[in-house]
Amino acid sequence: MNRIKAFGAFWYDFVIGDDWHVAALIVAGLGLTAILTHVAGVNAWWLLPLVAFAALGWSLLRATSPRK
């Protein structure tokens, strides 16, 4: 059981890293891009870069703000 946990922890750290919010925002951004493109017919090429910049900024802000 411990080995399975360690294996899972390794891959979580490898893919997701220090801040899971970044990964969640990228996945949400991709989902929204797909909806806008396929359902609303909007060629939303600009959305994912904006989400990536916002995710990085938010993650940096969280990492550098004093803990309450």
Partner: protein
């Protein structure tokens, strides 16, 4: 698309990982025993080659659109991790990755460990230290080679970039026989983070169905924009830190 950006990106990313693996291999070889260290390194390289040989061609058979969606997402997440660490290090919120102190840590641990012979290997500690170091750092190389190579339908070019990096660092390591402390690792990581984030965003959005203005030429705009925004974050955090007077938090663990 021209294979040169692909080869260069993989080359720089692999140089960073190879330097970290070299530090561990040197610590094992110099402190313990070279034969067992080389055995551990060789077994790890065989495992990594097997993963690339199996997963690389298998991925090439998958349909391109879902492949780009998944790989784009993974690359963007991976790239943003690298950028986040590089920005925090560039602004002093996180300690710089120091090959000299990493080497010292490994040497201290290696000097105190007992010598044990196992499965035909005379020094099991040196073997496992070299094996784990090369395998873990190499996994990131394999990930980058496979994702970039599969998306560009050019695994060969990605392998050339990775192999060139490994040869350059190995030859330099043999010549210097010390950890490569003078390499500007953080700035290289910064550059790789920019490339991974840009390519990941580009392919991910393509996989989600968008058509980029100018097709592949959009990358020529996207890469500098990601670099500018990242530089902007460095400037912003430095100004903020200067205004506050001291780093807000130094608690993040130093890792690769």
């Amino acid at each position: 698309m021209n294979a040169l950006p692909l080869i260069l990106t993989v080359f720089v990313a692999c140089v960073v990982e190879a330097i970290e693996a070299l530090t561990i291999v040197l610590a094992a070889g110099i402190t313990r025993e070279w034969k067992s260290t080389f055995q551990g390194m060789a077994v790890a390289l065989v495992v990594l080659a097997a993963i690339t040989a199996v997963v690389g061609p298998a991925i090439a058979y998958l349909p391109l659109t879902p492949l780009r969606l998944v790989i784009g997402a993974l690359l963007a997440i991976f790239g943003l991790q690298w950028l986040r660490k590089a920005v925090l290090r560039a602004t002093g919120y996180k300690a710089l990755h120091d090959e000299a102190s990493a080497y010292l840590r490994e040497v201290t641990a290696a000097e105190t460990a007992a010598t044990e012979s196992r499965r035909g290997v005379s020094d099991w500690y040196a073997f496992t230290l070299a094996f784990k170091g090369v395998l873990l750092e190499g996994l990131e190389v394999v990930f980058i080679v496979i994702t970039f190579g599969a998306n560009q339908k050019n695994i060969g070019a990605a392998v050339i970039g990775a192999a060139a990096a490994i040869v350059v660092i190995t030859v330099t390591g043999i010549a210097v026989r010390a950890p490569l402390t003078k390499v500007p690792e953080n700035w290289m990581k910064f550059a790789v983070g920019i490339m991974l984030t840009s390519f990941g965003t580009f392919w991910g959005a393509e996989g989600a169905g968008v058509a980029w203005p100018g097709n592949d030429a959009a990358l020529l705009v996207l890469v500098p924009v990601v670099a500018l925004v990242s530089a902007g974050y460095v400037f912003w955090l430095r100004s903020r830190k200067a205004a506050v007077g001291a780093p807000a938090r130094q608690s993040e663990v130093v890792s690769s």
